[in-house]
């Protein structure tokens, strides 16, 4: 047993027999030379090995391409994509809770369903339509424009416009006093001025 030069302390030599290793390496080298001599790694075998390697490489490349294509066709939807649609839907069970915020087990199932539908290539409209058919139109954040639902779209602008019109009329009436009353007011003021002038004149005379 010999310690390698430049190394000290407790080292491989305590567990490893370098002489044995050298013997093994020598035998391996000799074996390799023999195989060459005996033609075990002949030209034909090398060719076969090369063909096998090429085939394996091509198969691996094709498999990789197939996986990439498959994942491109059915990409896993992200949470943001799911929540974007869930935000347009309301929990059918809880009151006034958008599906993306709803913490219940039922809502989790519906979000999973949206994810599944997205991965199957469903469009946003198809998913919303499915939910409306399954759970009723009340799950839609934006009610369909049919029947009495039209009131939701028509009433607010009509009420706002009517309110604005009334406010405008009232403001105009407040800021512009009636002509008749203003004329009466100025006549009264003029009469008062005359009276004050005469009063002052009388006072001066008495002084």
């Amino acid at each position: 047993m010999r310690r390698p030069a430049g190394l000290s302390g407790v080292y491989f030599e305590d567990r490893f027999n370098y002489d044995s290793l050298r013997d093994v390496l020598r035998q391996v080298m000799a074996g390799a030379e023999n195989t060459t001599e005996h033609g075990m790694w002949s030209h034909e075998m090398k060719n076969q090995l090369r063909v096998m390697l090429y085939t394996l490489t091509i198969a691996l490349i094709l498999a990789a391409l197939w996986v990439v294509k498959a994942s491109a066709q059915n990409p896993t939807p992200t949470d943001d994509e799911v929540n974007r649609i869930a935000h347009q839907l309301y929990c059918p069970v809880c009151e006034n809770t958008p599906l993306d915020f709803c913490p219940t087990e039922a809502c989790r199932q519906w979000r999973d369903l949206i994810r599944q539908q997205l991965s199957q290539g469903w469009t946003e409209d198809q998913i919303k339509q499915y939910f409306a058919e399954q759970y009723g139109a009340r799950v839609l954040a934006e009610p369909p424009r049919t029947g009495l639902n039209w009131l939701v779209y028509i009433l607010p602008p009509v009420i706002i416009l009517a309110g604005a019109f009334l406010l405008f009329r009232m403001l105009r009436a407040w800021t512009k006093p009636p002509a008749a009353s203003s004329a009466a007011g100025s006549a009264k003021e003029a009469a008062q001025d005359d009276y004050v002038a005469r009063l002052e004149e009388e006072l001066k005379k008495r002084k």
Binding site: D112, E133, Q134
Partner: protein, 191 residues
Amino acid sequence: MTENTNTPPRRGIPLRTQIVIWILLIGLLAIIAIELNRSQRGTVQPGEAIRDFTLPLYSGYEYEGQNEIRLSDLRGKVVFINFWASWCKPCEQEAPELVKAWEYYKPGGQVVFLGVDYVDTEPAARIYMKKFKITYPNGPDLGTRLAQLFRIKGVPETYFIDQNGALQYVQIGPFTSLQQIQSIIEPMLKK
């Protein structure tokens, strides 16, 4: 005193427009009142007439080989309509009792059990039905039409309809035993 004849005519909203506005306002208030009244009426009560309905059934849970079931086709039988959902924990509590009751009444053919899956997803519903070994006809309440028809307030709720199609009993909440279900069905069968 002399009357001022030069006063300009008073401008305002024409009478016809006022009438239209008032009619619209009254109509709107009437709609709100009807809806409020409807939402506060609670579930249908025994004695109230139940409108006919058709329930589509999940495959594997059909009724006599048909993939939908109509209430009017069940005249002459006691109909047990149970609203449930896979996300409903109290429903899980009563599910084994319902299965026991179905197994008890199924051979007689006088009682039809009908599960109405309320706002649920089919995969979750199937897992639930498999878990509790439910075999009686079950289907989804599409568009919550049946829930609105029965004006349910939650799940589980069960409605018992007699042989003449009249609602006899309403159970709000889960059943706790087979005997509880039997105590409702047996008197109906004796009629």
